[in-house]
Subunit: 114 residues, 2 copies
Amino acid sequence: MSVKKKSNKKLSEPQLQRASMLFATLSEPSRLRLLQALQEGSLSVGELVEVTGLSQANVSKHLTVLHGARLVKKSRAGVFVNYELADSVVDQLCGLVCAKMERDLAEEARALNG
Amino acid sequence: MSVKKKSNKKLSEPQLQRASMLFATLSEPSRLRLLQALQEGSLSVGELVEVTGLSQANVSKHLTVLHGARLVKKSRAGVFVNYELADSVVDQLCGLVCAKMERDLAEEARALNG
DNA sequence: TTGACATATTACTGATTAGTTATATCGTTA
DNA sequence: TAACGATATAACTAATCAGTAATATGTCAA
């Protein structure tokens, strides 16, 4: 009994605060869309506007948030500012979340069929 | 050039919506506190109130959200309702987030020292 | 049934924030 | 310098939501 899995990380209160902020950063569909777009590689603000269909001001604001969370890096190229993914954690988190969504769907299907 | 990492998952729009909802669920410090408390094992609502210091109504509401996201399971034991973690994804996500926070701290320290 | 206790729900309030519009800033070229 | 195009910021609005207080629901015991 009481078989423990591996990690079981205990987070301190400040760690917990920071963690919640990172999750909040990822809780906006528009920001996830931007991160998805950047998985192809580096893109300028204008290109991100085109790809996502969001307004320029909106994209810029979201990029500021993502940059503040150190999830993207920016670099000027003349008049343009290019953004790219700064941390592989986005990929990893999305992988875990996708796996969970599939588990949930399977369970829902099972619940329906009985 | 163009060395690709592994996954690079592309999420569909509905997947993206669901993912953002899961992240939103985890973006509240109080809910993370509850999940942390449940890492010890199954706890009743009253015990969670004691451990976290949150109000009874507040804990109950957060547990409803966590249950809706299938992150916790509930089971009645007489007058009590016991909650326990329902998905290891919480542990895994927290692990990734903690690792990133440590990377960020290291980078900030490096930035300060020059 | 009634009373006592554990949990859930409702109605409300204050705070946060995504998106928009308008404007400001920055870099380049003429 | 001035004019332009790309990006960032400011002010605002509407919607969302955590927390609280009060109440409802549910379970057991007498």
